[in-house]
């Protein structure tokens, strides 16, 4: 019976369908509730950041001392800070800084760390030795100290903070990618495509990178969280966002002074950062699983046992 069905199928569909790997990965991602929720939360945050001027109830930087340190109310949903600025509006505008810091930092560390790691691992030899000593040198510094030093060198400015944090994160990524590449390089499937005559570029981009993607994705989500939090620390030191510009980290740092008098001031950015970090981690974990074809549920699975 099963054989008959299979024959009919292949007659009707003379051609095989394109792989549709991305579609299947996306479908798998949406089957994961945590990743779906994380994805939704992040989307909302990004939308809020983009449309900040339209949705913010108040001006985030206008000082109104008469309304300072107000608890949450119908007018100020999450209260006001010590300058009387609306916390909700500051969080919405702060998303612009914090999310772009997170995103650009991982982009920067990705474009720096991944090529170094892959080249080092795949080519090996002297190149590997040189690159890795360089990476090790960076890794010996405490990360925040290194970032402070770089920003100090480039000047206090949010762009420089992003560069600094990217430089700090890249070596970690490079190490990880190198290790994964070393393992992938020894896989039989790499030998097999080498035997087919594939160029090194094809092998690295088409096969090695594709297979070390999972650890990279996980590391990048960790990097995103770290960047959001580090931006807070650097801003606190006066090296990042300059007042009165809102950012989650800055606001959090300032709120510490009023922790007992106005706990909402402290809680709001803390919870927001937590929510963002959790969401991105959920999405990262989901992505890692979803990118693995072994997790994909396909219509083939059902017929697979029946034919040969």
């Amino acid at each position: 019976m099963a054989d008959l069905a299979a024959t009919r199928l292949s007659d009707k569909e003379d051609d095989f369908r394109p792989a549709g790997g991305l579609q299947l990965a996306a479908r798998q991602l949406l089957r994961n509730p945590a990743a779906t929720i994380g994805f939704a939360v992040l989307t909302l945050m990004v939308l809020a950041a983009i449309f900040a001027p339209l949705i913010s109830p108040h001006n985030p930087i206008q000082i109104k001392l008469s309304a300072k340190l107000q608890p949450p109310s119908a007018v100020y949903w999450l209260g006001t800070d010590h300058f009387g600025r609306d916390v909700v509006s500051r969080l919405i505008y702060g998303a612009r800084v914090s999310l772009s810091v997170g995103l650009l930092v991982i982009l920067f560390s990705f474009s720096l760390g991944v090529p170094i790691g892959v080249l080092s691992g795949y080519v090996g030899g002297r190149l590997d030795a040189t690159l890795m000593r360089l990476v090790d040198a960076f890794l010996t510094f405490p990360p925040l100290l290194l970032a402070v030093a770089i920003v100090g060198l480039l000047g206090p400015d949010i762009q420089n903070v992003m560069i600094a944090l990217g430089v700090v994160q890249a070596p970690v990524l490079a190490r990880l990618v190198r290790a994964s590449t070393l393992a992938a390089r020894e896989e039989t499937y790499v030998t097999a495509v080498r035997a087919l005559g594939a160029s090194p570029t094809r092998i690295i981009v088409g096969h090695v990178l594709r297979n070390v993607l999972s650890p990279i994705v996980v590391q990048l989500t960790i990097g995103f969280s770290a960047a959001v939090v580090s931006e807070a620390s650097l801003s606190f030191l006066g090296l990042g966002t300059q007042p009165p510009q809102p950012s989650w980290g800055r606001d959090l740092a300032e709120a510490r002074r009023f922790m007992t008098d106005a706990p909402w001031l402290f809680l709001a950015p803390t919870l927001t950062i937590m929510l963002a970090v959790l969401s991105i981690n959920f999405v990262g974990d989901g992505l890692r699983d979803a990118l693995d074809p072994r997790s994909w549920v396909t219509r083939r699975r059902a017929t697979q046992e029946a034919d040969d």
Binding site: E13, A19, G21, Y189, A192, A195, L196, R202, P293, R300
Partner: protein, 333 residues
Amino acid sequence: MTAGPFIEVKDLKVHFPAPKNLFGSGGAIKAVDGVSFTLERGRTLGLVGESGCGKSTTGYSILRLIEPTSGQILIEGQDILQLPQSQLRPLRRRMQIIFQDAGASLDPRMPVGDLISEALEIHGLWPGADRRRRVRKLLDLVGLSTQHAERYPHELSGGQAQRVAICRALAVEPQLIVCDEPVSALDVSVQAQIVNLLQDLQKELNLAYIFISHDLSVVRHVSDEIAVMYLGRIVEKADRKRIFEGAAHPYSRSLLSAVSIPDPDVEQRRRRIILSGDLPSPANPPSGCRFRTRCPIVEEDCALHDPPTRLLEPTHGAACLHIQKSQELLKWT
């Protein structure tokens, strides 16, 4: 077109640096140490021996997946070891390899259709719309259907994975395929399917096979000629009939007698040469004849002289100082 054999391997050596010990250099591991043979298209050379004898290293070096230390590999007269790395691609079209663990030889993140069309893409074969048609044709050739093209490697059984690997190798229209233990990991019923498939393809496409295996029963079934390797050397080489019915080297004889036969009475009556101990380290092979430490008929002079290959027939050579005595041994095994 030259008149020589399709492929001729001359005095191939592959030495790896041994791991260094406390006292400095560890010397060289002579994985392959002077291997020579020839092979014509449409024929199969079986390469047998225990693990560590250098049979797989030999196969890998022929494709230059491992760079040999010295020697010559002539394909229709052209020494491919002289080719610079950049000119290897045309060579890859002429020679392919399939592996023991076929599943692992397929990128787990690519569906079968992509894996096969990639091979075509690398060499710019069948461009455009023809490529997908070609993939279907190739799948059909190895007994798979179009729907297998959509599958990912983990969705394939062991036998199907090996069919896909064979299919991908055939995509570039090679003349020689190195088969590295292609059926060792498969169940017997599937093993027979793959063996028959390889034989049919050989007839149809006039392929030369170098069939590397430790399973002498399968090797006997598929090979025209057989080379027995021990510690980096070919100790005996002959056509199939001679090896299986009149092997002269004591190692070949021991290897043959160790293979079990699915026949209870035959097993009962057989007498085995049970070799003692394991393969010596290739970093430090015994002096003289390398087999002497395990040889059932060893003599004193075996430690002194490296035995040359003696021709017993025009197509049958064995490297043993005491072939006469070895053939006595033949009588009771």
